[in-house]
Every structure is written in C-alpha cells, then in structure tokens.
C-alpha cells in the first residue's frame, strides 16, 4: 500500500542524507521525497511517499525514522484523513490551432499558463498524483517538451496538526 509519511526534523546539514541513507541501507523503497524549511527556520518538514506491500516494513520505516536523532516527529498521514497535493510544470509545443486547444485543456485541469513563447506554453498543474498523470495522458506525447514534478505534500484534515 502507498503511505505518505510526514516528519519534522532539525534543519541541519546532513539531516536529509540520514533519511535517504536509512532507506538505502535498509532496502526500503522511496517513491518521492519533498523537503523544505517550515515557518520556523530551524525545522524542516519532509514528506515521503513509500510503497511497501508488507505493513510490517511500513511500521519499521516509521520506527527507524523516529529513531534518527535529528527527527522530531513522524506521522503516517495515510492512517487518517488527509489532503495531498503535488505540483507539475509541463513545457509543451503550442503552435497554430493547438494553442487554443491547450489553453482549454489547461483550464479543464485548473492549470495555469506560466510562460508563453511563440511556439510553447509552460503549464502549471497541481493536485493528487493521479490528476497529474491524467493531464500528461491528455497531452499529445510528441508535444511534451519537458516535465518536472514535485513529490506529494500532505497535511492531516481537521484541527489536529503536526507541530514541534
């Protein structure tokens, strides 16, 4: 099953490599990883997505992450109601009649055109992974010039929050 694990950690050099090193040393899978400082510059928030069939391994992953000395808190968001988002930027070839068609497609996906040239659009789409996949599928494969995607970010629903 797919798990989204959110964690708070000390914003120190090397913190990220401890997490990445843990995954490679113990043979756990990382599907995506996002990390940035929070409103408190001493704290980073890291969101990682892992796909493990064995729930025992997911339990080990959260325990091993908790064990890292730099890690303040770990939460498996998939255990509760949560919201998730990822962002994608796509540069597509846009000429002639295709310009109007791409604009419409972008609107359907609530995308925004960030940059325009005489022959290209750069479109921003946000949403869950499946939505981003669907947008890619809707594009003519030959028209795609470049794709950049973030990993998933997640936050729990309701009043509870993950804080230091």
């Amino acid at each position: 099953m797919r798990h989204i694990i959110a964690m708070l950690m000390e914003n120190e050099p090397g913190s990220l490599s401890r997490v990445a090193g843990l995954f490679s040393a113990r043979g756990y899978n990382i599907h995506s990883l996002c990390v940035a400082p929070t409103e408190d510059p001493t704290v980073s928030r890291l969101t990682l997505v892992t796909r493990e069939k064995d729930e025992g391994i997911v339990e080990q992953i959260t325990k091993q992450l908790n064990k890292l000395v730099d890690v303040i808190k770990v939460l498996d968001l998939t255990e509760g109601e949560h919201v998730e988002r990822a962002i994608m930027l796509v540069k597509v070839r846009a000429t002639g009649a295709r310009r109007e068609e791409l604009k419409r497609l972008s609107d359907i996906f609530r995308g925004r055109i960030l940059d325009v040239s005489s022959s290209t659009y750069t479109i921003e789409v946000t949403g869950v992974g499946e939505k981003l996949d669907a947008f890619i599928d809707a594009l003519e494969p030959k028209s795609i010039l470049e794709v950049v995607r973030s990993g998933a970010l997640g936050i729990g629903r309701g009043t509870k929050s993950l804080r230091v």
């Binding site: 025992g56 080990q60 908790n66 000395v69 303040i72």
Partner: protein, 567 residues
C-alpha cells in the same frame, strides 16, 4: 573564559570525567595533542593502529559501563576507526569518537588526508556531528556524550576541523543538555506490564530469553530476582551472558546457533516467551518461520524499532529494562494470580531430560589439546571471576559455552559485527579500567594477527593481559563450515605460515609460552596467572579437527540441532 577549541576539548573531557582517551596523532589533531601534552587530567593512550583505539575504548566501555573515548586524525585515521565504530554500533556500546578534519575552508576540496568522515560513519553510528563553529563545540560534545550513553547506547562521532581547534570561544561546562528531537523512553507502559504479568503467570511452559540489553541497562540484579521468584527457565544470547549467573540451575545456557540443546528445545517448546533486552538476531532465531511456534511472545526493549522487527510479538513493552523489571517485580509481589505449579513441574521434567543429553560433552584427549579443555581449565583456575575478552571464531563459541559467567560485564566480545582483531585491544581496554583484575584474551591464530601490533601498546603501558591463543592452524569456524557445507573444500582457511608466537611475544618484550601437550595446559595457565605484572602469550597447539557443537544450521529451527557424536 575564552579558550581555543583544542583547550575546550581537553577541559570538557576532564569535566565530563573522562579517564582515558585512546588515540593516535596526525596533522589535523595537532592542536589537540599539544593541549593534551600540557595537562594530566585525561590520560592519552597511544595505540599502534586506530582500529586498536576503538576496540580498546569499546572494551573499556563494556567492562565499566562508561563511554569509551577515541581520538584520531582525519582521513586514514578516521577510516581505520570505522571497523571499531561499526563493532560498537552493532552491540550498542557507548563510545565517543573524535575525528580530526581538514580546516573548514578546505572541506570538499579533496585536501590532503580529507575524507567525509560524517558521511562514511553515518550508517554505523547512533549519531554524528561536524563542528563548523568553535562556539558550538562545547554543546556538541555534551550532546555527543548524552546521545552515546542514554536510551539504547551507541557510538557517536564528532568531526572537528583543524581551524576550529585553534579558534577561541567561551567555555562553561554545560551541566544539562536539551534536545527536542531526542528523548528516549525509560518507563514502560503500565497497562502493557499488567497484561504481560497475566500472561507470564498463566504460562504452562514459560521461557525467559535475555540479551545484551540487560547488561547495558545494568539490570542483572532485577533480572535474577524476577527469574528466581518465578522459578522459570532462562536462556541468554551471546551478548547477555553473565547477566544471570551461568552456573545456576535455572540457567539453560546460551541459545541459538551454538546454544545448548536444552535452551533451544525449550525455546521451541515454550508457550510463553519473555524476551528481555534481546533483538532476535538471526544467529539466535534461525528460521523465522520455525521460531517458537507455540509461543505468545512478550518483548521488553528500550528501542521501539527492535520490537517486531524480525519476529512479530504479542505484548511489546517499550522501556528501560531496569525500570520495566522493577515494575514487574513490584506487580509480582502484590498479585494474587497463582502459577500453574503442575504444568511447571512437568515442563522442568522435560527440560531436565533435554539437559541429560549433556550436549556440551566432548571426548577429552590425553595427547592433543582440546580447546574446550583450555577454557575449562581457565574457568577452574580463575574461579570463574576473570574478565574474558574474545576474538571471533570457534574459540569465541568455546569461551561462551565453557566459561559460565557469574556476573555481567565480564564477557567482552564482538557479537553483532563479529570483528576479528577485537579481542586483544578490547582486553587491554578492560585492563586499563581494572588494572588489578585478571583479564584473559581468548583468541585464535587467525584473529590475533589482525591487531597484533597492539602488543607494543600493552608493553608501553604495562598491561598484564593473559592471551590464550587456541592455535589450530586454521580459521577454525570457516574450516568447520567448509567441512559441513562445502564438501570439505578448505578454501583459504589454512594458515600456512604462522609466526613463532613465543618469539613474537618476546620480541615485543612479553612472555611467550608454547603448550602442545594436554597434560601441560593447567601448569602453563597457573604460571601465566601467577605472573601478575607480565603479559603472557600462551600459544596452545590445539586439535585442528575440533568443531563447535551443538549446532543449529543457518535457516533451521531450534529443534533441528546437530549434536556431537561421541564414540
């Protein structure tokens, strides 16, 4: 008070109560060595190889419970220390390793003797630090000692660039340390303890399986009291030996790959398993699918990640072994629940039948020296009170089997990583801590060669370690596996050109004895033990065909042991 980084380090070590620093100088740590030279509160022990420094600090830590401290230079100094750091990590030994680093502005430029020490050690430390600002040095050192010694202990590396040791900052010894991201639990969950007690007292075929965590958690007395009050059988891992008195009737011996028949059969047959400070290592468990098939399992451990890592447990209790056992003991005194005496009597009867197989018997010889006989003689002559440090291989298993330890922290061996070369420096570390005690190093002709250079350090500091080398001319454990599982193809396991160990010992200024007749074993040991001030190297020429029994092959169950066939 403004001090240089090097002065801060020396002052801090003194204020932290550090007795010994095991180390080796080099370019990046010269400011530190200059300050060490100007003080005498902290004694520096000059080793002959950085691996030796880490094992010495490790042996010191295992015997005393205090953190071992190591100081090495950047680059090769740090990489040579890695084996010792990993050894300590696998056995959760508190250690602080200070590595020199090239100056901050040179980091990343492939400078002379530069390696990414923090990167290289990251997977084999509990935590590590790179100190980039001298203002952070004191706090970082305090954190390092705190992390190394609290919770589940382990080695911590502090990497200090050379310029940081020369720059100045204020120094005040920090009495407290606060880390929002690191707060290990100590007290166990009351509800879980209650549930566990109910299961424990209701058991018909109980078994206690204790590990190194009991030794590390200083809870040998509590363990002994709980087990004796329950009257239940107990086995121990290699790392836990001595936590429960080895000669007591309730003790079934070590379990696992070279455990006793009775311990392993009782594991297989038990209905309630009480695991205390043990981590279900593969050498203990064998085939996970065949492990304790009838048992409900209780697991007490300070490290939540150890729980249900290998074997799914039914009642986990996260907490310090000492705290949890104290609570268990209190609850045991007030409970009205009775044990199932009839079932227990039957269980003990069954265990005694297994024990009657005498799985550790061997055919002693009047000619060839049997390695087991050397250990038995050592046990007899030291009254079981020696500190015994061991290397890795057959001799290590013989020591674990034939020297039943009475007390914790007497048995010093590399269990998790299985590091050959560990024995001699570790024994020396123990001898530094306890200069008047008998410290024996059990080794073999393979292992001893891996840190043989430390004989020079032993001479320099007058350490009277007694080395018992069980010399069979083979890498005995490798040879045994090749005999059993690789068609007797003794590939590279024969030591063709061994040195004359007597002359070797003598060349370092020690006493060497060569013993090749069974009849001379006791006499040689007596002589060695009577030489209180000398390091004595005993080269016992032992039966090269001897194997370690019983044996549970890798991937088998506890009830599928190979036993020694006696003629």
């Amino acid at each position: 008070m403004e001090l240089t980084g090097a002065q801060i380090l020396c002052r801090f070590l003194k204020d932290e109560g550090v007795e010994y620093v095991f180390g080796y100088p080099g370019g990046s740590v010269l400011f530190i060595y200059d300050e060490l030279y100007k003080q005498d509160a902290v004694k520096h022990i000059l080793v002959r190889h950085e691996q030796g420094a880490t094992h010495m600090a490790d042996g010191y830590a295992r015997a005393t419970g205090k953190p071992g401290v190591v100081l090495v230079t950047s680059g090769p100094g740090a990489t040579n220390a890695v084996t010792g750091i990993a050894t300590a990590y696998m056995d959760s030994i508190p250690m602080v390793v200070i590595t020199g680093q090239v100056p901050t502005q040179a980091i990343g430029s492939d400078a002379f003797q530069e390696v990414d020490s923090v990167g290289i050690t990251r997977p084999c430390v509990k935590h590590n630090f790179l100190v980039k600002d001298v203002k952070d040095l004191t706090q970082t050192l305090k954190k390092a000692f705190h992390v190394a010694t609290s919770g589940r202990p382990g080695p911590v590396v502090v990497d200090i660039p050379k310029d940081v040791t020369a720059l100045k900052a204020d120094y005040v010894y920090p009495t407290a340390v606060e880390m929002r991201s690191y707060n290990p639990v100590t007290r166990g969950h009351g509800g879980q303890i209650k549930k566990a007690l109910k299961l424990i007292l209701g058991a018909k075929r109980p078994m206690v399986y204790s590990g190194g965590g009991v030794v590390l958690g200083e809870s040998s007395a509590e363990l002994t009291e709980v087990v004796q009050q329950l009257g239940y059988p107990i086995t121990s891992t290699l790392m836990g030996l001595g936590a429960y008195p080895g000669a007591d009737r309730q003790f079934l011996g070590m379990l696992g790959m070279h455990g006793t028949y009775e311990a392993n059969m009782a594991m297989h047959g038990c209905d309630v398993l009480i695991a205390i400070g043990a981590r279900f290592d593969d050498r203990v468990v064998g085939d996970v699918k065949k492990f304790c098939p009838k048992a409900k399992i209780i697991h007490i451990d300070i490290d939540p990640a150890s729980i249900s890592k290998v074997v799914k447990v039914h009642i986990p209790i996260v907490g310090g072994v000492k705290e949890v056992l104290e609570e268990l003991l209190a609850a045991l005194k007030t409970t009205e629940q009775q044990r199932d005496e009839d079932a227990l009597a039957g269980w003990w009867q069954q265990i005694e039948e297994w024990r009657a197989k005498k799985c550790l018997s061997y055919a002693n010889s009047s000619e060839l020296i049997k390695p087991q006989a050397v250990l038995e003689a050592l046990y007899k002559l030291t009254d079981g009170d020696a500190y015994v440090a061991s290397d890795v291989g057959q001799h290590q298993m013989f020591a674990a089997q034939y020297y039943p330890f009475k007390e914790p922290r007497r048995w010093i061996n590399s269990g998790g990583l299985g590091t050959m070369g560990f024995g001699l420096p570790a024994a020396m570390g123990v001898q530094f801590a306890y200069p008047d005690e008998t410290v024996a190093c059990i080794t073999g002709d393979g292992s001893i060669m891996m840190c043989i250079q430390e004989l020079a350090t032993a001479k320099q500091y007058g350490l009277p370690v007694k080395i018992l080398s069980l010399n069979n001319g083979y890498l005995g454990m490798v040879r045994q596996w090749q005999e059993f599982f690789y068609d007797k193809n003794y590939s590279q396991s024969y030591m063709e050109t061994l040195p004359d160990f007597v002359k070797l010992a003598e060349s370092f200024g020690h006493v060497g004895l060569r013993i090749d007749k069974a009849a001379d074993v006791e006499g040689a040991l007596k002589e060695a033990l009577s030489r209180k001030d000398d390091l004595v190297f005993m080269d016992f020429i032992t039966d090269p065909s001897e194997n370690v029994y019983p044996m549970m092959e890798a991937g088998k169950g506890h009830n599928e042991m190979l036993l020694r066939e006696l003629a």
